[in-house]
């Protein structure tokens, strides 16, 4: 391979790519703590953060935890964000995104208060990679295959060819 000029050029290109790939991989690995968009309640339990520092907290809105109130005419929502390992109380004054609901993923920006609860100044809704027509979702819920409160949809193989009109669901 190295006997011809082309062979040598190919070897140089491959070597450079390998070196570059390794360097990029090591850099990303070293910075991976900073590359996450948000931390989960479980991360906070492992590595407690000081109160008052801005951070993003993400996870699922715990079922049955949402309460809405009004404070000086502004809507205030209180809910718990969980990742299955731990949960954090969140308070947010403002308008929630349309997709916000119990069992849905959210990313909140704000800071921890001294009592361990989280005061959010921004709430973003996170949706998963599942796409289905409303009738199919209805049929799955009716047949008991999917309990939306318990989180993600069943494995896609179970429903992605389902025809609710034919099966009469």
């Amino acid at each position: 391979m190295l006997r011809t000029r082309k062979g040598r050029r190919l070897a140089v290109v491959l070597l450079c790519l390998m070196g570059l790939g390794t360097a990029a991989g090591l850099t990303l690995l070293a910075f991976s703590d900073n590359l996450v968009f948000f931390v989960t309640p479980g991360d906070l339990a492992d590595k407690p953060q000081p109160a008052g520092r801005m951070l993003r907290l993400g996870g699922l809105v715990e079922t049955g935890s949402v309460t809405r109130a009004r404070n000086d005419g502004k809507p205030v929502a209180r809910f718990r964000v969980t990742d299955g390992r731990a949960a954090v109380d969140v308070e947010f004054a403002g308008i929630l995104p349309d997709l916000f609901r119990e069992g849905q993923g959210v990313v909140t920006l704000g800071m921890l208060r001294p009592d361990g609860s989280f005061l959010a100044s921004e709430v973003l809704a996170k949706h998963d990679e599942t796409y289905m027509p409303p009738e199919v979702a209805e049929a799955l819920k009716k047949s008991g295959q999917w309990k939306p409160e318990s989180g993600a949809a069943p494995p896609a193989g179970n429903w992605n060819t389902l025809n609710p009109r034919k099966s009469g669901g």
Binding site: G7, L28, F37, P97, D128, Y131, M132
Partner: protein
Amino acid sequence: MGAVDSSSSSPVARSLHRFANPGRFLRISGRVLPFVAIPALVLTLGGLAWGLFFAPADYQQGDAVRIIYIHVPSAWLASGGYLALAVCAVLSLVWRHPLADLAAVEIGPVGAAFTALCLATGSLWGKPMWGAWWVWDARLTSVLVLFFLYLGHIALVRAFDDPTRGYRAGAILALVGVVNLPVIKFSVDWWNTLHQPATLSVSGAPSMHVDMLWPLLVCILGFSLGFAAIVMARLRAAVMERRIRGLLLAGAQGA
């Protein structure tokens, strides 16, 4: 050069150099182009009409989901186009393939346009669903870096008086930027992101109902053929342009 470079008689090199001949490229691509461009137009328009008007809405995103039929194909071409650019870079650096140089110059702006389309549709989709036009999560940021790589390549290949030096510099930039492609692909798996993980995968069932999947696949195919047709047409124009310049130069020298 000739004695050392006798390796061009190896089968790989020979088949490569058969297509390196610009005259042959013009003949073959002239015949192939309509068979790419017409299906591209039909599939893109058909797929978009199917997706935008006939496919079902999503159970949680409603009609806003329909932007997926533009967002996903353009995202696929943003990455796929860059991969094509990188392949041209290898052909150019290792085999000094003259058509690969021209192809890299022509792929750049088309890939950048699809990347811009991907970013714009993603932003329009993000506002109603997430609640933000833009966030600095790993997926969005790495695609923005891809867009800047395209822009850098477009500028660099045109920045030299001697085009050959521009081709070399552009090829090196394209190859350096290729490390960004796996970062884009796996960003949603490696780090917490606001962007969803992949819906379509090589292994495993797509977590999308077939009534939405089919129009999406038609759109992806239509967009891809459209990308190929645009690049091919641009490349033909570039080859002809270079020929005319050569003829004019020869005429001027002969006079």
